[in-house]
Symmetry: C2
Subunit: 243 residues, 2 copies
């Protein structure tokens, strides 16, 4: 069985200007890995209509799933929902069920459901809502494209509700071995071992922390017994390592 | 005068699997903003030859500069330099000046300059070296493409040496106003103000920290007097705000 694939689109000028450090991509990456969906690419782009439309149409065609974050709030620079509708060639308008969610929420909090907030009920034709247990305004899925908020705790809550509905694959497992040697010393034996296990992925990541200097060796794959065999071989190559 | 544009390519399986949280993109974004270069897009991709070649050839053609991080170490999964050479259609081989740097470094540290470490002296034909004051193995610039290490302190040191050699534009300035109102309440006046200042970019970012709830309003642009005028208008709209 092959694993489903995914791409992510992080939408927002504040990421590219360096004002805000994105955390949604790293969160999504970990969750997808656990769910057995392979994140193949992430792109960070500006709040620009044509740019969003083009990226959505490229990435939704080349991956099983596309996840987006950002640009679905109430202000003038929140243009993601309209861009998604344009990318799919469907209409977009305020939808009754989304409006009802917002009406209940703002009535309870004593805030006005004004025109700006109503924009958050604009949903492309044919989309399914993604629940927002944090601040109510929903995300949505249209085809294989899942549109979520940029605020990290809202993004995380939406993803937690969405992910169980998506068919995953065998979870991507990883094991690591920490060795007290430089990357240049482990490179040759590690490369040879990687050729013996072409179904697994081998990575090496140097570290230099608190005076300790060495390399983390990481093996990834979906077959637990094969991963175990690779780790045994790795420990035999580097007996000073610690798993 | 228009500002030069840039894209970034973050290369590495460990980013997409969620094992490692990238920090180089955020660092580059801030440095480019200060240097007056507009980061228009960032992509995170896997250690895969064809994927790297295709992304490099797309992004170096659509932006004034392309910055890459990752994949220039000594191990089998460090394939960025070869992919860059393939993308540009030039040869790649061990270069004498890069080999000399490594020979001096490893002689001093008493480590062997073995075949794996020598791979870090493989430089595409016609490239200029980027100095690595942390761990010696150099990055390189080929045309408008600047190839740097993935290890954050090495990436930062390489960028610090490279950036003064690149022509920047007027620095991108930003000012922000923190208001104690929800995004939905500031949306309409903020949107109207944005239309009065089409040469500036207006963003709004909700926060909810330690019980305080409100919105950070951010104005960006290169013309300091215009930015000042926009901030005065913003403060008049939201007199309870604090800059």
């Amino acid at each position: 069985m092959t694993n489903p694939t995914a791409a992510m689109l992080v939408i927002g000028d504040e990421i590219l200007s360096g004002r805000t450090r994105d955390s949604n991509m790293h969160h999504l990456a970990g969750e997808l890995t656990r769910h057995g969906i392979i994140l193949q690419e992430a792109r960070m782009i500006a709040d620009d209509h044509e740019t969003i439309v083009a990226a959505v149409n490229t990435l939704r065609g080349t991956h099983d799933h596309l996840f987006t974050s950002g640009g679905i709030g109430p202000t003038h620079d929140d243009i993601t929902a309209d861009a998604i509708a344009a990318a799919f060639g469907v209409t977009i308008d305020i939808r009754d069920d989304a409006r009802a969610l917002l009406a209940t929420h703002y009535a309870r909090s004593g805030q006005e459901l004004n025109a700006a907030r109503l924009r958050m009920a604009r949903i492309p034709e044919g989309a399914r809502l993604i629940e927002n247990p944090v601040s109510t305004a929903p995300g949505f899925s249209l085809g294989n494209t899942h549109v979520m908020a940029g605020v990290p705790n809202v993004f995380q809550a939406m993803l937690a509700g969405l992910l169980p509905n998506l068919t995953g694959g065998a979870p991507l497992l990883s094991q690591s071995l920490r060795v007290e040697r430089g990357e240049g010393d482990v490179a040759a034996p590690l490369g040879a071992l990687a050729q013996e296990f072409p179904d697994l992925s081998f990575g090496s990541y140097p570290f230099n922390r608190n005076g300790a200097h060495g390399t983390n060796l990481v093996v990834r794959g979906t077959d637990a017994p094969r991963l175990e065999a690779a780790m045994l071989a790795l420990c035999a190559l580097f007996p000073d390592g610690m798993t």
